[in-house]
Symmetry: C2
Subunit: 326 residues, 2 copies
């Protein structure tokens, strides 16, 4: 089932406005959710929206809270997200990091006390649309056993790296687990096995069954010890830069997950010299030259986006029905 | 066989001075090589030194070339490595990034036309010793097939993330391949299988045999599509920020690999507020609490360093004999 993008955007906007969220903020938050589904990331788009509404009703997300600067030193700023909507906070933080990058060549906003940013890639596209290189990451509740352990002690801490390019931005949006929690759910709901092992089953054996990994909670770090180590580094850097909480301090019940720490970094190479768009094109050309089905980060998103805007955004009928009733 | 650290440092310093390298630069370059072996990374320490000397003699590395700034905008600078020794260029670039981070809260030096930086972790320890968070990466010659292809089109582009901590810095130093080229050689020389699949053999089957992976050249990206995608992003960002070469432009013969592009980023959270060393300690305590053999990045390095300084640095007798004859 496909629904026009504007209809999804309008429906989500009305639901958010009904919570008391101010009109311009409801519009932006709804757009970010709708764009995630449009781009093929419905796990953090429409499919996530009912949970977001529940977290507003439970008071975990405060629709009126706006982020505030709490400390600044040149290109580096610390902001307090005050428990506001995660996608609005993250969008504001990246907007500020873009302004800092333009002013100082490089910019960094560290954001404490925020909520789940939904699709991390959104803020990568935002940076690239502004013509800057963007890197951002978030910590999460503990949902990933580090390499060598069976119990979740680190977050899967998504990392986004964005490079602008006229012919199509190159945007990497990756969790530190081999499969994000949303990806496991997507494979399960489609009745598919994972393409490679994604974690352990309850008996401790590696498995490609997404439901078995969800049941055990033993996700596999991407690259084994590598994803495990990188996850720890991202958590440390986010907590130290933002002054906020680290993963071990975050409530482990998913619908109570709050007070996350995030970092938004930008670099504006145009402040140093002429535009190097052709250099980026040449890298992509060589990446795609030759045999094999090789995809660059963000390539599939652009294809999915085009189809969604032409034919409508694919929605799960049950989810759409639920969202329409919110 | 173990050799005292100072004896290794002296031996390498004399060999470098004999090439005409200035005394202070020979001292620093030799120290960085010796420290890599001291810390357990002999693949980019003593074992790599004979090749470095050959590359000096072939004119690939110019011992007299010093890096120069070519463009600057606030916290972001572009430097030209001018084909100088890679470890000296990288050390100078990180030193400058540390100064920028202190002045602006965040700092970035992008370095073009440089040579292999040897152990990337060196510059992470350098940043952490200076009390700042450091992130740096390099591109390399094409030595890694992207996910979906069999021929090397991306580099294994090592990434370093460093967080300072009084009780022991936390330093991640990882290649984008599941095993670095140096790690494959180390496993092979010890006659060990890799702990997990590290690439494909000549027949295209996944294998844990390091020699088979070296023979085919088909290393596996860490996290499959994830390491492949992150590698591309690091190359793009390094080439665009530095104005230098991307992987596809770099000579593919290892001893002619030159004109690399690197990025050195620092953040100085102390410019924003009180020291958060105890917050970092708490993260590490929780990471290590509970069952399993869980190692944090840099932990093993500190243990190895202690043993090396007490008992001498482990060396391969044949390599040591060769180095002493240089």
């Amino acid at each position: 089932m496909r629904v026009p993008f504007d209809e999804i955007h309008d429906t989500l906007r009305r639901a958010l406005a009904a919570t008391g969220m101010e009109a311009d903020r409801a519009d932006l938050s709804a757009r970010l959710f709708a764009e995630a589904s449009r781009d093929g990331v419905s796990s953090h788009g429409l499919n996530r929206f009912p949970r977001f509404m529940r977290m507003i009703r439970r008071g975990v997300v405060d629709v009126h809270a706006r982020p505030e600067p709490v400390a600044a030193h040149g290109a580096l700023e610390r902001w307090d997200g005050r428990g506001g909507p995660g996608n609005l906070n993250a969008h504001a933080a990246m907007a500020r990091a873009i302004a800092l990058g333009r002013a100082h060549g490089a910019g960094c906003v560290a954001l404490a006390n925020t909520n789940h940013w939904m699709r991390g890639g959104s803020y990568g596209w935002q940076a690239a649309d502004a013509g800057v290189i963007g890197i951002c990451w978030t910590n999460t509740l503990a949902n990933l056993p580090p390499w060598g352990a069976a119990d979740p002690r680190v977050g899967n801490n998504p990392l986004v790296v964005a490079v602008p390019r006229r012919a199509g931005h190159v945007i990497l949006d990756m969790a530190m687990s081999q499969f994000s929690v949303g990806a496991l759910a997507s494979y399960r709901s489609r009745g598919e096995l994972l393409p490679v092992a994604g974690g352990y089953d309850e008996a401790g054996a590696l498995t490609r069954d997404p439901a078995a990994v969800e049941a055990s909670g033993r996700l596999l770090p991407a690259g084994f010890w590598k994803g495990s180590g990188l996850s720890l580094m991202l958590d440390l850097a986010a907590a130290l830069l933002s002054g906020g909480q680290a993963t071990h301090q975050i409530a482990t019940e998913p619908e109570l997950e709050t007070n996350l720490s995030q970092v938004f970094v930008t670099f504006d190479p145009s402040t140093l010299g002429p535009d190097r768009d052709r250099a980026a094109d040449a890298v992509l050309e060589h990446f795609h030259a030759g045999a094999g089905d090789v995809r660059s980060p963000g390539e599939r998103v652009l294809e999915t986006r085009q189809t969604s805007l032409r034919d409508g955004v694919p929605v799960d009928p049950k989810v759409w029905e639920e969202v329409c009733s919110l």
